[in-house]
């Protein structure tokens, strides 16, 4: 099948998936499987990555993978993890040793910040040995770019459109890492697809820790953010470089290993690269939203300590 010069045997995330060109979530999926390797069971909620990777009878996954419904991926993963713990404790034959399996969730922001937050909270509170990774593309992309509680202020989505009386989303992005931190997690990190080595190191580190872990990775969506597919990495990099998406680790409640910046870029540079913020530079009052976004970046810089 295909051009035999290319070997996809070792891809644990395979080509042929139907994610849009330049998809940040697809790239995230690739990075995740490159670290976890085959001894992994992934639970994924309904969303872009679910539908683009598993149209029956196809699957892009080389690892064991399960989808049940939209809002329960964390609980499904928790159930799998407890099953393996029981298999080990009760000596059930035919199953890989509990300690050798990576239990991972990969979920979008809608499934994480909104509809699945109960399941995620329960999983974190109960201490399941699960690494929860959220690919954050800041809206419900699978259903057609509706705002989620991860959508940043000023972004135009199909349910928070810019219009005569609207400058797009008018509610601030929810601070999920802090919510995870409030559960007392040993390890939390943010990351960006623009820095794969950093992200992969974080996944590797998280997998070595027993108990619940939370990583949130910024994953641009060309279709939803209205930018050219080739710019996904560039935009992800700009989000970090402007301070709008700081990347850091949080270990036992303390912020550590912040990606420091010599000179933060103005947020305009990031905003202007995307159609979802275009109205901010045309409409009256848009400048105020840009100012507010700049103040968010400034606040991040202070709170997290981005500036060198």
């Amino acid at each position: 099948m295909g051009d035999d010069r290319f070997n996809h045997e070792e891809d644990l995330f395979c080509p042929g998936h139907r994610a849009c060109p330049g998809c940040g979530a697809a790239l995230t999926s690739k990075f995740v499987t490159e670290v976890t390797g085959p001894n992994t069971i992934m639970s994924m909620p309904t969303g872009c990555m679910e539908v683009t990777t598993t149209p029956y009878p196809e699957s892009a996954w080389g690892i064991s993978w399960i989808h049940n419904i939209f809002e329960n991926a964390a609980a499904v993963a928790g159930g799998i993890e407890r099953a393996y713990r029981s298999f080990k404790r009760r000596g059930k034959k035919g199953y890989t040793d509990y300690d050798d399996v990576n239990f991972v969730v990969l979920a979008g922001d809608g499934a994480t910040f909104d509809i699945g937050i109960r399941s995620l909270s329960g999983m974190m509170e109960r201490g399941h040995d699960v690494l929860y990774i959220c690919y954050d593309n800041e809206a419900y992309m699978n259903t057609g770019i509706q705002r989620s509680s991860s959508t940043p202020i000023g972004a135009s989505t199909t349910t928070s459109p810019a219009g005569k009386e609207s400058l797009g989303e008018d509610i601030h992005k929810k601070d999920m890492p802090s919510i995870a931190a409030a559960h007392g997690l040993e390890y939390i990190a943010t990351a960006s697809i623009a820095y794969p080595e950093d992200f992969k190191k974080k996944v590797e580190k998280a997998l070595e820790i027993e108990g619940p872990k939370y990583i949130q990775i910024f994953a641009p969506c060309p279709r939803g953010w209205r930018h050219e597919s080739k710019n996904s990495i560039k935009i992800a990099r700009l989000a970090v470089e402007t301070g709008l998406y700081p990347i850091y680790e949080m270990e036992n409640g303390e912020i550590t290993n912040v990606k420091k910046l010599k000179e933060r870029k103005p947020v305009e540079e990031y905003l202007k690269a995307q159609g979802r913020f275009k109205h901010l530079f045309k409409q009256e009052g848009g400048d105020k939203v840009v100012e507010e976004l700049q103040s968010i970046a400034d606040h991040n810089a202070k709170k997290i300590g981005i500036d060198k």
Binding site: M1, F6, H8, C14, L27, P57, E58
Partner: protein, 94 residues
């Protein structure tokens, strides 16, 4: 790893699917631009392979990075992220 899952398809219990079977879906047909690698310019950094969301650039045994046109969707990330501009996007003629 995978066979054509549509061949002699019988609905499996619980609609369980075998791994790696999207390989049957040749997304190369989506492409409007194709990446052309200038192997002379290439410094072998591997950014193109690293950032490809479609696993469609691989380092060959001879050290060259080649594009798997069966799957490349033509997003252009490889060209954009190449530090020495060794990849150019060329309009597909169909």
């Amino acid at each position: 790893m995978s066979k054509d899952p549509y061949k002699d398809l019988k609905i499996t219990k619980g609609a369980v699917v075998r791994p790696g079977t999207t390989l049957v879906n040749k997304t190369g047909s989506w492409r409007s631009e194709r990446p052309i690698v200038d192997h002379e310019k290439c410094v072998g950094c591997g950014n193109c392979e690293k950032f490809c969301p479609d696993m469609a650039i691989k380092e060959m045994e001879n050290g060259r990075f080649e594009v798997d046109l069966e799957y490349c969707k033509g997003c252009g990330i490889c060209a954009e992220e190449c530090p020495v501009k060794a990849i150019e996007m060329e309009k597909e003629e169909r």
